[in-house]
């Protein structure tokens, strides 16, 4: 507890994104500068979790005005202290500028990136110090757990979650309340509760940011779930590559234990709950629940057939409930605000919100939380600020390596579990990769399949052998050696792998290939029949560059940059490119002062 009240709070985002763009040195400079100006006692520096707007980090918010500064560097600190903190004048050059209108926006609620968002799971991220349990409690933290433990019986809790329509945010979309009911119904002297924080999709960082920015919310969500199913021990399975998330979670567990919010006889209800952290070694397959439990038990992280489901026979052979980080993060909101308020958000089959990690060729990279039913267009163009460098939208990939790519025609698709499945992709854990006209869809499919193929644990044949064969075909196609019938073979293999693999990894691994064939078949055909990569990505297929002889002024600039000496000619006479030597790297094109070079 602090003795004095500060007149101003300066929030510095110290999520992983902002730390890597320099938030730690920024904080040190600010500390020094405040001390030099005799302001240390008046102004409090608070380290917070991710604000989501990682593209513009490091981010700083100054309260009570709520001014949002972005891309703040140590050199800017002196000016912020002198001008803003001392004299009350906003440092305008550090304000966010809307990319479309160039308008400066002082308050973050008014930035288009935030305006369209609705934050439940991320409600406190960026607002509180994740290492200070008091700040979480000040915003109503642990009241949901208190209410559940002292005023509700277990079945009431399960029914509430059932009625809320909450579905698993890890990707599967299974109704959470039903899952809890199964675990509750299992008779046993011992039950376990697990939080799946083994986030492994390339480019996804939703769970990481929640753990880093608001770890107590996860503990509270787990408390409620543990009470509902009757578990007295739990694990958070988090990958060791997330050191900051682990550190903050460890601190949070320690503080919660000290306050008696974890341990024995919580809220004098007679309910006990002990929470451990299990660090995963980073295998993608351990995000699958049975593989994850094997890993906790110290066995090799491989899936086992279901049934029996974890709710019947899970960790150490005991009934176990396992949910994703974001799922637990929604629980306190549902308990506090009520089922009606939660179901009012989202669509009929998918209530609530979903967090997405927006990446790829987009202006505003970052973490966004939107109500289910928001269209892809709103997320990409309104929140994401559209594509960079005036490029044209080509596809969006949802669901990470298990999901698929959707073309422009689907931009108006409202995002929910079922609409995405119908379109041939999936919600997944919430990765969203935007691609522009320069992306080759065959190459994209190959990238994701290469990932799942190397992450396949090798236990079942369809996944182990099938993904390998599919990858070989894709490699052949992108190398220019595609054959007639390759597409059909890919489809056949893909369908078989989907229907016969043991776990979710194999069952979804062909999705990137199947969806790109479905929507971008012409690109596959161009690679196979014409030996041409329309996007110019697959270098073995890219056409050689040619020089327009009439336009060429014979300056020789292009010949100087060619790495393979494919360009020759006499000064002041037209130069030529030898198509057999040219590797289509494109280095010559921007060098030409008269734009005489183009790809053939």
């Amino acid at each position: 507890m602090k003795d004095s009240i500060y007149r101003s709070h300066v929030l510095i985002c110290t999520g992983t994104g902002c730390v890597s763009s320099g938030a730690k040195t920024l904080k040190d400079s600010l500390n020094e500068e405040l001390a030099a100006n005799d302001l240390s006692g008046e102004i409090k520096i608070v380290e917070t979790g991710c604000h989501g707007f990682c593209e513009k980090g490091p981010i700083m918010i100054v309260y009570p005005e709520g001014v949002f500064y972005c891309e703040v560097q140590s050199d800017d600190v002196a000016e912020i202290v002198e001008e803003h903190l001392l004299k009350g004048r906003t440092v305008e050059r550090l304000l966010f500028k809307e990319p479309m209108t160039e308008e400066q926006i002082p308050s973050y609620q008014d930035i288009a990136f935030y305006k369209k968002q609705q934050r439940i799971a991320l409600a406190n991220c960026g607002k509180i110090d994740p290492e200070d349990i008091d700040e979480y409690i000040a915003l109503g933290g642990y009241e949901a757990a208190g209410k559940v433990l002292t005023e509700m019986d277990a079945q009431e809790v399960v029914d509430t979650i059932k009625d809320s329509g909450l579905r698993g945010r890890g990707g599967g979309g299974f109704p959470t309340g039903l899952k809890w009911q199964f675990a509750k119904n299992s008779e046993s002297d011992k039950k376990y509760l697990i939080c799946n924080a083994d986030e492994g999709d390339p480019g996804a960082f939703m769970d990481r940011s929640i753990l880093e920015g608001d770890p107590h919310r996860i503990i509270e969500g787990m408390l409620v779930a543990a009470y509902a199913i009757g578990a007295d021990e739990g694990y958070v399975y988090v990958r060791a590559e997330y050191p900051l998330a682990i550190k903050r979670l460890e601190k949070a567990i320690e503080d919660a234990e000290e306050y008696g919010l974890l341990g024995d006889d919580i809220f004098s209800s007679g309910f006990n709950f002990k929470l451990h952290i299990k660090k995963g070694a980073g295998a993608f397959v351990c995000g699958e629940e049975t593989a994850l439990m094997n890993s906790i038990e110290g066995k090799r992280g491989m899936p086992t057939p279901r049934p029996p489901y974890p709710a019947v026979r899970g960790l150490w052979g005991k009934p176990t409930n396992i949910n994703n980080v974001e799922t637990y993060a929604n629980i306190p909101y549902i308990i506090n605000e009520g089922v009606d308020k939660f179901t009012a958000i989202g669509t009929e089959g998918s209530s609530g919100t979903k967090v997405f990690a927006l990446t790829g060729k987009i202006n505003n990279t970052g973490l966004v939380e939107v109500p289910m039913g928001t269209t892809l267009k709103e997320v990409i163009f309104e929140i994401g600020g559209g594509l960079g460098q005036g490029k044209k939208f080509k596809a969006v990939q949802t669901g990470g390596p298990s999901g698929g790519c959707l073309p422009e025609d689907y931009l108006d698709l409202p995002i929910d579990y079922d609409s995405l499945l119908d379109a041939g992709t999936m919600m997944g854990s919430g990765g969203m990769v935007v691609m522009d006209e320069d992306s080759c869809m065959v190459d994209v499919a190959r990238f994701f399949l290469n990932f799942t193929q190397s992450e396949s644990c090798g236990k079942c044949t369809p996944c182990r052998e099938g993904t390998k064969r599919m990858l070989e075909i894709l490699n052949r196609i992108t190398d220019g050696e595609g054959k007639e019938g390759d597409i059909e073979l890919l489809l056949e293999l893909g369908e078989h792998i989907k229907s016969t693999s043991l776990c979710g990894l194999g069952q979804s691994a062909p999705n990137p290939v199947l969806s790109t064939v479905r929507y971008f078949r012409d690109e596959y055909e161009a690679h196979i029949h014409d030996h041409n990569c329309p996007a110019g990505v697959c270098s073995d297929l890219a056409g050689a560059y040619v020089i327009d002889e009439e336009a060429c002024i014979g300056c020789s600039k292009c010949a100087k940059v060619c790495p393979v000496d494919a360009i020759s000619g006499e000064i002041k006479n037209p130069f030529t490119i030898d198509p057999d030597v040219c590797i289509a790297c494109g280095a010559c094109e921007p060098e030409c002062p008269v734009d005489a070079i183009s790809q053939g």
């Binding site: 507890m1 009350g88 004048r89 700040e135 409690i137």
Partner: protein, 120 residues
Amino acid sequence: MKSLAELKELRNKVQKEMKKRDQGTKAEIIVGMGTCGIAAGARDILKAVLAEIEKRDLDVRVTQTGCIGMCEKEPLIDVKLPGKKRITYGNLSEADVQKIITEHVVNGNIVTDLVIARHN
């Protein structure tokens, strides 16, 4: 934690600090902190404002502003109560600050002899 009541008690205790980040409508005191203000002693005025608010445990937003052109009348503070006109006080001493907070911020009565401007 023994009961929900105990949690709520703790919440009330720790909430005060978090109110600084509350963007809702509440009383606001704005201290003129341009170079002219600082030269005339605005730092001490600001400290007096903070001390008085803390002593009385008030939920008031304290911000600063730059020079508003009335350098002659510095140090200045503005008091803006929700839904009321913004009032500027000038030529202030620390004792005046106490008086303004007691009478205007707490009781809603403008301290007319210190007022130098009213805004709409």
